[in-house]
């Protein structure tokens, strides 16, 4: 029997669940194709296939799906409505499945998470595995293994960042935003490269231990209900005492961010800047803004 090949677009939720997804399909013995880092071609394809008003991360996602379209049997397009009880996600994530299905007409895997309707992660993985033709036992053991691996890798990342904070004496900047913005070649990496050139330690908002999430969110935005935005807010509260400044990375025009950023900007006491990224190519403006922000931080350091 031929191995099933599964394409995973390297955008949006890939950055959040990559360990889980990749090791799950590896455990099942599927072949995985992951689209390359975002490049100019992918971005252009994405813009061609999406509405001009959708957010940059979404446009990039469309480009990645288009890249994968004739390279694999199935594409993993998750549909996430709710991943924690009484909380919500951006509606883009719940529209994603039907959207891709209508635009590209390609075999997709059903991966549906809706905790409010009692469809949790295990349920989603089981239905996904069953639709591919695997047995219950194999699916559940693969899922458990993958989950453990994800936990391990996550802990490793967090402890690595902790030791960086403890050991280094350089200027530290918290890069806060959705993982799909922070790690994307066209969004976060641009900022990252500028920061690295200026010899600055970068702390990422997603490497964060969610133990005290609820209490930390309450300090800034008690009624926020977007799960991913809550994580960003909590990590800002968590790290604001140990970093020199915060850069908020947003893709234009992100719905939840437009409101939750306003709360952050109005509540945080240390230097903070909000960089809104769109598909414009020139990054001179970005360079100027980041460099002047770094100058401010350096001056503040000297005065202490």
């Amino acid at each position: 029997m031929n191995k099933i090949t599964i394409g995973i677009p390297k955008a949006l939720l890939y950055y959040k669940y990559k360990d889980l997804w990749i090791s799950f399909f590896e455990n099942l013995g599927c072949e995985i194709i992951i689209s390359p880092n975002t490049n100019k071609q992918i971005l252009e394809d994405g813009i061609k296939f999406s509405m001009d008003e959708s957010c940059l991360a979404m446009k990039i996602y469309m480009g990645h799906v288009y890249y994968l379209i004739d390279k694999c049997d199935y594409i993993l397009v998750p549909r996430l409505k709710c991943i924690k009880k009484h909380e919500k996600l951006c509606t883009n994530f719940s529209a994603l499945y039907d959207l891709i299905h209508n635009v590209f007409d390609k075999n997709l895997i059903h991966y549906n998470l809706d905790v409010d309707k009692k469809e949790d992660e295990l349920y989603a993985f089981t239905t996904m595995g069953l639709s591919l033709g695997f047995s219950y036992r194999k699916i559940i053991s693969a899922y458990k293994e993958a989950k453990e691996k994800e936990k391990l890798l996550n802990e490793r990342r967090i402890s690595k960042q902790k030791s960086l904070i403890a050991s280094s004496n350089k200027i530290k900047i918290l890069l806060a935003g959705h993982p799909y913005n922070l790690y994307d070649e066209y969004i976060g990496k641009q900022i990252e490269r500028i920061l690295e050139k200026s010899n600055i330690d970068i702390i990422y908002s997603d490497n964060y231990d969610q133990k005290y999430l609820e209490t930390e969110v309450k300090q800034i935005a008690p009624h926020n209900y977007w799960t991913y935005n809550k994580e960003i807010i909590a990590s800002i509260v968590h790290y604001q005492d140990v970093v020199d400044g915060i850069i908020l990375v947003t893709s234009f025009p992100c719905g939840p961010d437009s409101l939750s950023n306003e709360m952050i900007l109005r509540s945080v006491k240390i230097p903070i800047t909000n960089l809104v990224m769109d598909e414009a190519d020139a990054n001179t403006g970005l360079l100027t803004r980041v460099e002047s922000f770094i100058d401010i931080l350096e001056e503040r350091r000297k005065q202490k």
């Binding site: 009484h86 951006c90 509606t91 209508n102 234009f252 025009p253 719905g255 437009s258 939750s260 950023n261």
Partner: protein, 355 residues
């Protein structure tokens, strides 16, 4: 002595009338409605709003600022839905930072409107409200909203063909005035049937094969005429019959009842719901095609995420059904002339198609 508490709320079409009615009956507080929306409202709102938040936020914030200037000190925001549910916290923060003093209440703090959360919030506003009164008048208000929506549906169908100018709007004004004076279910229902009869007696000159257009899209721009630059009025002046789905009674109870049925109707296109009114609008597009309408107008504020998710699917539905559709995206600075020009071109196209 404490200053007098004055309660106020943002605008949404004509619905300030039933809301004011409800608050007047329930609480002892003085109720004032926000000043009517003007260019100044939206200017004030956009000045203090985040950059790329959707337009309803700006309108609501403008309403709040103007009503605070008029002396209100207790504000109510509804909440629920997509981004709308989080408006209240951000607006409260912005207004407090501007230096206003007020109490702020949100009817829904979590995801859904439940009778319980509604009850608790009203109790917080005025602890002396009796539970019986609350239930009695809440249902009366819901009934009033339903009667209003029914009449509105009738008006939308016929207003383009009135022979005497403004006859519909004048009668509607009279009806709304009379609704506020009603005392109970019986008197409300009597008034409803009386005015329904009178609306039917109004003279119209309606050809059998008139153009029929459906309006779908985001809820605030659908229901607040100012935010869509009086799109419906414009359509009526072109002698077009209008069908619009979104109204408050739809949002209050019909939506959740129809969800499963609607999803089955469009199973070819959609497997899941999209959030907010996304799936409903895809259903409506399909429904309008099947009912033989001539065109669809889709309206939304700029950056409305659920609608952006739904539009590619709506586009496909309309392609398959060979249905002309036009998309309007409203922001605080949309030019009125631009909308008019596009609408006229769309109208010409529909007429040529009709032959």
């Amino acid at each position: 002595m404490k200053p007098e508490r004055i309660i106020s709320f943002p605008h949404l079409g004509d619905y300030y009338i039933p809301i004011k009615f409800l608050l007047n009956k329930l609480t002892k507080l003085k109720v004032i409605e926000s000043p009517p929306i003007t260019k100044k409202t939206i200017e004030l709102g956009s000045k203090y709003s985040p950059d790329f938040v959707c337009v309803p936020f700006k309108y609501n914030l403008g309403n709040f600022i103007e009503t605070l200037e008029n002396g209100a000190n207790v504000l109510i925001q509804a909440g629920g839905g997509c981004r709308y549910g989080y408006y209240s916290e951000v607006q409260e923060k912005i207004l407090k930072d501007l230096g206003y003093h007020f109490e702020f209440y949100t009817l829904v703090n979590s995801n859904r409107i439940t009778p319980r959360s509604f009850y608790q919030t009203l109790k917080k506003i005025d602890p002396k409200i009796s539970t019986f009164k609350m239930i009695y008048y809440s249902f009366l208000t819901i009934l009033m909203i339903r009667y209003m929506d029914n009449i509105d549906d009738f008006i939308r169908k016929n207003i383009g063909f009135e022979t005497k100018k403004n006859s519909f709007l004048d009668l509607k004004k009279e009806m709304l005035d009379s609704y506020t004076k009603c005392k109970g279910y019986l008197s409300l229902t009597k008034r409803y049937f009386y005015y329904k009869k009178r609306f039917k007696q109004l003279e119209i000159n309606k050809p059998k094969d008139c153009l029929k257009v459906g309006i779908i899209g985001e809820l605030y721009t659908s229901m607040e005429p100012f935010s869509s630059y009086f799109l419906e009025k414009e359509l009526a002046s072109m002698n077009i019959e209008i069908k619009r789905f979104t109204n408050v009674s739809y949002l209050l109870y019909q939506k959740s009842l129809q969800r499963r049925k609607n999803l089955r109707y469009i199973e070819k296109y959609c497997k899941y719901t999209i959030g907010a009114d996304g799936m409903d609008n895809i259903y409506r597009a399909k429904y309008l095609i099947d009912q033989g309408y001539d065109g669809i107008i889709h309206i939304k504020p700029f950056g409305c995420t659920p609608e952006i998710g739904a539009i590619p699917i709506i586009r496909k539905v309309c392609q398959d059904g060979k249905m002309p559709i036009i998309y309007f995206s409203f922001d605080s600075q949309t030019s009125e002339t631009g909308i008019k020009t596009r609408l006229e071109a769309f109208y010409d196209m529909l007429q040529i198609r009709k032959g």
